[in-house]
Amino acid sequence: MEAIAFYPLAVLALFAALMVVLHKSPAISAIYLVLCFFAVAANYVLLHAHFIAAIQILVYAGAIMVLFVMVMMLLNLDEEVRQRRKFGLLTALSILGGVGVGVLLVLLTWKPTVEATPKAMDLATFGTTETVGRYLFTTYLLPFEAASVLLLAAILGAMALTRRSEPKPGDEDR
């Protein structure tokens, strides 16, 4: 039953990820990235991580990708001439390196003896908002609060980086 859902979702995620890399237009890449995020979120649901799946769609497919598309609109990239790069030695080496990283990860994690069935757990409560929330607010309360400080710092940093400097009275016209 799980396999019926897993294999199409895995193929969909891999296809979308490949299209992110291969498509020429950054806007289409962004749309394929949203598709990939949805496929990964569906995998989270299969793994009984319901809260994380919802957060994935809200934060990644929602907020982060809206930010990407917004910046793309501000950059106005379509007017830029797209130069075609030749398939050179550097590209081949890069692909080889990427595949090498993948093979290395598989070799490091490949354990045929690992149990294919999860350990005994209460599936009714595992991964719900209540369980994850209780975990975050008791065991890891301090990192949780630190995360909010990090978000505040990121907001301030983004504002400081994108602010246009106001011409001061003493400055020449800029």
Binding site: E2, A3, F6, A13, L14, A17, L18, V20, V21, P26, S29, L33, C36, F37, V40, N43, Y44, L47, H48, A49, I52, I55, Q56, V59, Y60, I64, L67, F68, V71, L75, R85, S94, I95, G97, G98, V99, V101, G102, L105, V106, P112, V114, E115, A116, T117, P118, K119, M121, G127, V132, Y135, L136, T139, A147, L150, L151, A154, G157, L161, T162
Partner: protein, 102 residues
């Protein structure tokens, strides 16, 4: 074959990560490179969730929550950097941005 185990999810995560690495290395548009980094973060998150389920331990999901917070702030600051870079250099092609290259 029809039984999906931990290894299947780890293979999927490794493949997604590998595609992200290839994208970072081959693409020249700073925005697309950034998207590929998101792809790699997602692959790592998937591995976390898979381990969390197969070991019946909720802490993997807590880690993914924190990782998403970091990814969100990273995107906010990174896109701001790309935006101010475009204002100064009129390009987002990483081949043409060589301020630090000597």
């Amino acid at each position: 074959m029809l039984h999906v185990g931990l290894n299947h999810y780890l293979f999927l995560a490794a493949a997604l990560f590998s595609i992200g690495v290839i994208g970072v290395l081959t693409r020249r548009n700073a925005l697309v490179i950034f998207m590929c980094i998101e792809l790699m973060i997602n692959a790592a998150n998937l591995a976390f969730i898979a381990f969390s389920y197969y070991l019946a331990d909720i802490s993997g999901q807590g880690f993914v929550f924190m990782s998403m917070v970091v990814a969100a702030s990273e995107v906010a600051v990174g896109l701001a950097i790309i935006l101010s870079l475009f204002r100064n250099k009129e390009t987002v092609n990483v081949d043409e941005i060589r301020l630090m290259k000597w």
